[in-house]
């Protein structure tokens, strides 16, 4: 599979580079590199250790989890996974994953589509008021979600969308996440205008320019939008807490919270096992596509 080969090649290259770097660092006369490497490694360990501990603890029985520092369980068990999977609310944990996907996938479709389209409008056309509208759009980047939540809640109540996923999907399709428009605009700026012009000379209308020229060249950026939005929606807690009320519609974030209720029996090994399950999808997504994340972030941070 193409993806696999490239991924393993890349991993090999980075590890190889890492080792070469280590050799360079630990080589003669390279004190600065040595120090910087050590510091980096220490910070890295501190960063990653909690995640490793989480993973290891998910395979430990509850009594062993606390009081111990080790990642490797002394008594290996999958009881946490089994009981956690079966025993939250009235539903199997898979149901909550299903719910989250049901909520997230149409949302990222909406974000990818609307951002590509709207950004096209901002980036490739000169019309009166474009600068003003663009500045307006950028300023909404800094509009805090908290000030919008109460009226949005009331609006959604009026529309009958409370306790449904429309509260996420419709705003996505109407490009209400300005970060992605911004990302796409920055990306489009890197595409030469000549492409548009030659297409128009060939007789294309604007939509054909978009669909035949721009979008095919922008797959990576569009994908980056989808990936970011996936991770953000998957991890979202505040918005789902406010809009989603019935347990049968709970996404993973809310279901996980049920497990640490004061009123529930906090079985830590179940909780930790399900927490691991909860972070697996974003982790997997990242593992296979990390280049897009990094480049996506870089694209927005650089120009402008």
């Amino acid at each position: 599979m193409k993806v696999d080969r490239n991924l393993s090649a890349r991993v090999e290259a980075t590890v190889h580079g890492f080792i070469t770097g280590l050799k360079t660092a630990f080589g003669p006369g390279n004190r600065v590199s040595l120090i910087s490497y050590s510091v980096l490694v220490v910070v890295l360990i501190v960063q990653i250790y909690p995640l490793l501990w989480l993973l290891g603890s998910s395979f430990k029985p509850t009594q062993e989890i606390f009081g111990s520092v080790s990642i490797i369980p002394r008594e290996f068990t999958v009881r946490g996974y089994i009981r956690g999977w079966l025993g939250i609310g009235n539903y199997v944990f898979g149901r909550y994953i299903y719910n989250t996907l049901l909520m997230v996938l149409p949302t990222i479709a909406g974000s990818m589509a609307s951002s590509a389209v709207v950004a096209f409008g901002f980036a490739r056309f000169n019309f009166r008021g474009r600068r003003l509208l663009f500045a307006l759009m950028i300023s909404t980047l800094m509009l805090p979600n908290t000030v919008l939540i109460v009226p949005r809640y009331l609006l959604f109540r009026m529309l009958g969308w409370l306790d449904t996923y429309w509260t996420f999907i419709v705003p996505a399709w109407t490009a209400s996440y300005p970060f992605f428009i911004f990302l796409m605009v920055q990306f489009y700026r890197g595409l030469p205008r000549e492409l548009d012009e030659s297409a128009r000379i060939d007789g294309c209308n604007s939509f054909q320019v978009l669909s035949r020229i721009i979008v095919p060249l922008s797959r990576a950026a569009i994908l980056a939008c989808g990936l970011f939005q996936f991770v953000w929606r998957w991890n979202d807690f505040f918005n789902v807490l406010v809009y989603i009320n019935s347990v049968e519609k709970y996404p993973v974030a809310l279901a996980l919270r049920l497990t640490i209720d004061v009123g529930a029996n906090v079985q830590w090994n179940n909780v930790i096992a399900m927490s691991v399950v909860a972070i697996v999808p974003p982790a997997l997504m990242y593992a296979f596509t990390q280049r897009y994340f990094v480049e996506g972030v870089a694209t927005t941070g650089l120009k402008g």
Partner: protein, 293 residues
């Protein structure tokens, strides 16, 4: 209208989804919440006009408002500088390390992928319990256990640490910025006899200031609104409101007591505070941000 102008006016059409979204989901709610803030509106009842009473209440009779403002400020001050300094430091170090930058970058960014999600907040809570990971580690070093989650002075740093742990996203931006710096700058500096430290101060940092600026603004705006970590790690802002950020206070009033009017007022206060500080940062940016002309 000639053909070119007609073509360019098509731009409006492509903006339509955004215009709809902007009007319905951003502008209208913004205005509506301002209007609501002048009303008393219990969710199951009818709204009644009360003028500025909500705002007066915030500063006089609401004991938890001032506390939450204090906590939020403290939180932002703890999180933003620490996170950015860490991100900058690690980015610089990674960049210096010749090879292996890719691996470091990938691993340091990983925590940001998980974000301040419920799962990670649960992890944090379990780590800082009396017999949790952190105290166990300390006991190995012979240090006595700390009451991380039940102490009014330790709880907020614990919650802040979760945010700082995710410095990866800022770091990536710095790394990208570092790569962008043309090597000629370094070459000419070296010719002038500058040592690495001077190169850092005179070349790297000034050229990085746009990234620093971007990160400071975005991180500040996000930190002011942070909700999940304080909510989950210390169970709704305890102990004794030590981690009771404004986001939680707003949530309590709007969605626990269902005082929609007062909740809106509180959220506008937060908005104003964020705007004020963002404007401050923008103002100050003229003095310290260098854009390549």
């Amino acid at each position: 209208m000639n053909r070119a102008q007609r073509y360019h006016n098509m731009g409006y059409v492509y903006l339509i989804p955004w215009i709809v979204g902007f009007l319905v989901f951003q502008l209208f709610p913004l205005g509506y919440s301002l209007v609501l803030s002048f009303y008393k509106y219990p969710l199951l009842g009818e709204p009644t006009f009360v003028g500025v009473r909500n705002y007066v209440k915030m500063f006089t009779t609401d004991p938890n408002f001032m506390q939450s403002v204090r906590v939020t400020f403290l939180y932002v001050v703890l999180v933003v500088p620490t996170k950015i300094i860490f991100a900058l430091m690690v980015a610089l170090l990674s960049n210096m390390s010749v090879r292996g930058v890719g691996l470091f970058r990938m691993l340091f960014y990983l925590p940001s992928i998980f974000g301040s999600s419920v799962a990670i907040s649960i992890l944090w809570r379990s780590m800082f319990l009396k017999r949790g990971l952190v105290n166990s580690l300390l006991s190995l070093l012979g240090v006595p256990a700390f009451p991380w989650l039940t102490s009014t002075s330790l709880a907020l740093p614990v919650v802040a640490s979760l945010q700082v742990w995710q410095f990866g996203s800022s770091m990536v931006i710095f790394l990208a910025g570092l790569k962008q710096i043309p090597t000629d700058y370094y070459d000419s500096a070296r010719i002038d006899g500058a040592n690495p430290w001077q190169m850092l101060l005179r070349v790297t940092l000034p050229l990085l200031t746009p990234m620093i600026f971007f990160n400071v603004v975005m991180q500040t705006i996000l930190a002011f609104q942070d909700f999940t970590a304080p909510f989950i790690v210390t169970n709704r802002g305890g102990p004794l409101h030590a981690t009771y950020v404004l986001g939680i206070h707003i949530y309590n009033h709007a969605f626990t007591y269902f005082n929609m009017g007062y909740g809106s007022g509180l959220s506008w206060m937060l908005f104003l505070v964020i705007m004020f500080f963002t404007a401050l940062i923008f103002r100050s940016s003229r003095r310290w941000v260098h854009y390549e002309s």
